[in-house]
Amino acid sequence: MVREQPQQQQQQQPVSQMSYTVEQLVALNPYNPDILPDLENYVNEQVSSQTYSLDANLCLLRLYQFEPERMSTQIVAHILVKALMAMPAPDFSLCLFLIPERVQMEEQFKTLIVLSHYLETARFRQFWDEAAKSRHIVEVVPGFEQAIQAYAIHVLSLTYQKVPRPVLAEAINIEGLSLDKFLEHQVANSGWILEKGQGRAHQLIILPRNEFNHPELKKGTGESVPLQHITRIFPILG
């Protein structure tokens, strides 16, 4: 399934052409400490250009793990914020597995871990409250809010056919007139439907159908046989 993403919310772009060389560096030298500065620059580039490469970031965390004295906590913080933005993928945990516990004890990382916990358990109200208190950590990374909203909408559309307006408002942290505008946009661009005939507080939003909120859309996966298995009977057929 493709996650429904409103157009105005820019998801992190795939790695751009310019960064190709860093990707190549990682592929050719996965265990070479000399590429550490390149990878650090690359993290900053991902932040400013709103791109993302998990593999490059894991490679950098690995080099930090081998040579802890070279670790820059600021870079690590950027990597973790980017990983949060990649939800629902498990990237945040993948990064934490590589970061020594004593580093995780630092205040900014503790905050990020709490934020991740709220997202993992879909407690969006608490998440936005906590994020508001930690603007200095998350707002340095452009696109943060939009990425989390995209994740929230992803979880909502896995769960709901029709979502009550207040539930949506809480999850994406948009209210009142802004929410009206947001909904208008979604209706026009992403196939959302507003159920009529009720007051605003009781408004229901019909989310686009997918196989997870409309089970009848699920394809019969039982009937597909990979070609490789069929090749086994080629000699017989021939």
Binding site: Y31, F97, E101, Y160, N213, H229
Partner: protein, 518 residues
């Protein structure tokens, strides 16, 4: 085989060895005959005989004569094998392996063993090696290399009891078992052997590798190719030891584990591959992938166990078998897809962990403690790859890596702990209102909504291509305030069934054609 020996102990130990009459220069006739024959078989590329001597004679002699002492030194035997450089490296590799398995290596010996691997792998990588060695032996080399690295990291991390001499040695030989060195050797073997390209070409029928179990019947050598192949499994393992599960699985990608392959030709390699593959997937929350592969290999071990009883790896097989049941219990507790598990495996699992698994479904401290217990029992021996900081007060840090992985795993468990409760209710209702279910679960409505969304998030994994894959055993959707439960009907796999039957029928027909009626 973790060594807790400090320097003094080791000296004592060595003296004991001498007291008991160990003379590194004394070569008994049986050993002389062993090396002479082994050397000859290697030169004649007689893989069958090499395998017999390697698996049979070496173990028998070790049991009979070297139970508590090392084998004769390489210098003492080299005169019987034309001082052959490569043979001496191979002999030393076995020498150290035997030492690690039966005695406790000293720091100096650990360093010497590292040097020996460097020389051996360098010869394979840069020299023209013209041997044909049994897969079992080549697997053992990679396996032992990674094991000794792990053992060294554990040893080095216990800094509290180190003597000044040991610290001086650690400083002097700071490149020994260096994590970059270890990874780069494995990586170099993979690259230089071009094994990834070979496996690719094999898919197109341009190359044979799996069909000949990696052996070369055209006069070439299998050593680099097969070492490269097993090094991919070695990399998976090292990355798991480091907590880098994503990268580990990536290293294994060229091997198609849904099929038989060279990795299944050696039981130790088969088990190591699946154990780490399954563990990595457990940590990545891809529970169904882990369950499927654990199920397959546990069934395989169950059926073939008896054939390995005499193997030197038998104990290791049993231990990994038990650990994988524990991992399977963890996976199924988080993702109760019991229908993926075959009946034999399931009944074994119930016998071993049935009662614990029921308690793990609860939402309390005891359940939590059980997750802790099973994880700690079954996880790999995690390592901290960086050397100690010698300027600071020396502390033991050998538990750090394990504690971190455990803690993060338990985070995940905690996040999922209320899901078992929801599951129970979803199984008995086809529709229920949010309000009613909230009352039953003794939470308020907003909390229940977050639990339901958590359930959806945790049961919908992201596959390597970024696609959403449902792993839910019970699923539902929300229509405003109503929860509608989706009945899950298992999709029957007719396709595979028919394919198997077609092949079977063809076999029967071929057999019948052969019968000549008088």
């Amino acid at each position: 085989m973790e060594s807790t020996y400090d320097y003094d102990d080791t000296v004592k130990h060595q003296q004991q060895q001498t007291d008991l009459g160990y003379d590194p220069n004394f070569v008994p006739d049986s050993v002389k005959s062993f090396v002479v024959h082994l050397y000859r078989h290697i030169r004649e590329k007689n893989v069958y005989e090499i395998h017999q001597m390697y698996e049979g004679s070496f173990q028998t002699l070790s049991d009979r004569m070297f139970k508590e002492s090392p084998w004769p030194s390489v210098d003492a035997i080299s005169q019987y094998v034309d001082q052959d450089h490569v043979f001496c490296l191979l002999y030393r590799e076995m020498w150290f392996r035997h030492l690690y398995a039966r005695l406790s290596p000293t720091l100096k010996q650990r360093i010497d063993s590292w040097d020996n691997y460097c020389s051996l792998f360098s010869v394979v990588l840069h020299g023209v090696v013209n041997m044909q060695l049994p897969n079992q032996w080549l697997w053992d080399m990679v396996d032992e290399f990674v094991y000794q690295f792990q053992s060294f990291c554990q040893y080095r991390a216990k800094m509290k009891n180190k003597t000044e001499q040991e610290i001086a040695l650690l400083k002097q030989f700071d490149q020994a078992w260096n994590v970059y060195g270890v990874l780069n050797f494995l990586q170099a073997l993979v690259e230089k052997s071009q094994i990834i390209q070979i496996l690719d070409q094999e898919k197109e029928g341009l190359e044979q590798f799996t069909a000949t179990d990696g052996y070369d019947y055209n006069g070439g050598s299998n050593v680099l190719k097969v070492l490269g192949y097993f090094s991919m499994v070695g990399l998976l393992r090292v990355h798991c030891l480091l907590g880098d599960y994503q990268t580990g699985l990536k290293c294994l990608l060229p091997i198609d584990i849904s099929q038989q392959g060279v990795y299944t030709s050696v039981i130790g390699s088969h088990i190591t591959t699946i154990y780490h593959y399954g563990f990595a997937n457990l940590m990545l929350r891809r529970y169904t992938d882990a369950i499927r592969e654990f199920n397959k290999i546990l069934l395989y071990i169950y059926k073939t166990k008896q054939y390995h009883q005499k193997s030197p790896q038998y104990e290791q097989i049993l231990k990994k078998n038990e650990q994988m049941y524990a991992l399977l219990a963890l996976c199924l507790s988080l993702c109760p897809q019991v229908k993926l598990v075959e009946e034999t495996v399931n009944s074994q699992l119930r016998e071993k962990y049935g009662e614990k698994m029921i308690r793990m479904q609860r939402h309390d401290e005891e359940a939590f403690a059980l997750y802790d217990e099973l994880f700690s029992y079954a996880c790999p021996k995690f390592i901290t790859p960086s050397p100690p900081i010698l300027e600071e007060p020396l502390v033991n840090y050998n538990q750090d890596a394990y504690r971190l992985q455990l803690k993060l795993f338990l985070y995940e468990v905690k996040q999922q702990q209320s899901l078992a409760g929801v599951r129970t209710f979803l199984k008995v209702y086809s529709t229920i209102s949010v309000g009613k279910l909230a009352t039953y679960m003794e939470v308020d409505e907003p909390t229940l909504r977050t639990i339901l969304m958590t359930y959806k998030h945790k049961t919908h994994a992201i596959d390597p291509d970024g696609k959403v894959i449902s792993t839910a055993d019970v699923d539902f959707f929300l229509d405003d305030d109503m929860i509608r439960v989706i009945e899950s009907k298992p999709a029957k796999q007719y396709g595979d069934y028919f394919l198997r039957q077609i092949v079977k029928l063809e076999g029967v027909m071929t057999d019948m054609d052969r019968i000549r009626l008088e």
